[in-house]
Amino acid sequence: MSTEPLLRINQLCKHFYMGRGQTLKAVNNISFSVDRGETLGMVGESGCGKSTAGRTILRLYEPTAGEAWYGGTNIYRLKPGQLKAFRREMQMIFQDPCASLNPRMTIMDIIGEALDIHRLADNRSARRKRVEELLYLVGLNPEHSTRYPHEFSGGQRQRIGIARALAVDPKFIICDEPISALDVSIQAQVVNLLKDLQKRLGLTYLFIAHDLSMVKHISDRVTVMYLGQIVEIADSGELYSEPLHPYTRALMSAIPVPDPDIEADKERIVLSGELPGPLNPSSGCSFRTRCPYATSVCAEREPEFQETKPGHHVACHLV
């Protein structure tokens, strides 16, 4: 197997023009790569640009700058016809299982739409057979294909969303907080389904979430985002045992441990201050306004993204 990563993001930016000369830098110069068959976790607090990054990679939003290499093709250079064919390679699972299924369509039509667009079913019975196969694959009763989304529970709907993404046989799936709208017991069900499908179908995931323990459970490597930038990337085990960036350390200290004795003694790093608005970020390091260790150099220069150990990258002056 080649060592070439499946997806390589290079200096990706997505800025939104908000009017009156203001620009929202939702995603600012992020670079990372995802290897074939792995799960890359992406964490960060609400509004840090995780979802925007995911949607921009998939070209649901046009990027402001940057490249996204999928194998040998730059996703942002694809012409409309090529883009449509590329959609079969990369799919997305959405956050809100209530909003991601069209309430006016039956499950058969929701999943079948993927088959219609790419002409993957020759006739109606082949289409029905394929949809039922997909429903079975995600653990749903194929007889329910004539039902409407509102008749299903949240976990079932999320599995319908997964079946729809799988309908075009993608190799890469961006999971945009697929479990954050679900109950804890259902979360485990869906995560285990995703892991199981990864093994069976050889999928590669970009798993966006803000639940740190769930990300640890599913990811091989994790990237941490703060205000549109990546502050740290490392192997999942290493990131959790040896976080280097002060922001990552604060995040890790906030993971609750299901043991009251440990939880009582645990030291929690509480960040002071509020998340600064992304409209006018501060000079230098974006985290310095809340960083307990900030020095004068942090205000002057933006920290470089450097590799401290093989595979462990961090953007901080103090490391």
Binding site: N102, E113, I117, L140, H144
Partner: protein, 315 residues
Amino acid sequence: MTMFHSSPADKRELALDDFRRADVSEHAAEAIEQEGVSAWRDIWLRLRNNPVAMTGLVFLLLIIIMAIIGPMLTPYDYYSNNLQMTNLPPSTEHWFGTDDLGRDMFARTWMGARISLTVGFSAAAINLVTGVIYGGIMGYIGGRLDEVMNKISEIIYSIPDLLVAILLVVVFEPSLGTIILALCVTGWINMSWIVRGQMMQLKNQEYALASRSLGSPPMRILFRHLLPNAMGPIIVTLTLAVPSAIFSEAVLSFLGLGVQSPAASWGTMINDALKTMIIYPWRLAFPALFISLMMLCFNLFGDGLRDALDPKMKK
């Protein structure tokens, strides 16, 4: 709950053998017992339980049926004059009386209903198509195009519609076609704004994004995903657009710009009856009664439909 109060003698130890493993497969656990209900059926079930809206619907259907068969129920036609039988009050012979030229009012009332309904439904249909296409493009594409198209619609909206209608009727012949055309010049704007608002709200829904990420072209997303979900407000606007068009037609007819005699609409009949209102009140009463009844029924039905389409909106 008697089993929990049983005497100690009845108590017996439960062994593992007393339990049987329930045979529930993973797929069976996902079964849905309730019968499938589509969104439209759900709406109909809610609407059916609203007596006010159903009354409105029944009367509307009665008026429509009478407009179709009404003129055939009486031996008299709507255009034959009979100068010996003018201004008769309602009787077993002429159910709604006769007018100043001795024409049967019953036949004329239902012929008028035909014209009023034709004007109402065709104007509303044309406004629906224009408004949905224009508003859909504005809202879905957005940006600069939306700004320009929205400004154009605002300019058209700022023209007084009655003035445009009068101008059109004066320039062209006053006929059914001219009246419908006159009602369509500004009538579609309201619909286009409703659709625009809906599109702007719906286009960022995750199911639209999901469809895009599957590779759907914009038109497919617009017609398969966005418009079906905007049907509620569109239908409600439509049920209010029909009576508004009928009313505008009545106003034009009342001003003498409507269909020309011997054809009649409710508006022209009211206009004719007005001069002799005090002496022959029934000539005014029947068309006025039916136009009021129809307006009321459309509004009651439209209100009920809105509640049925969006139960969350009801307060």
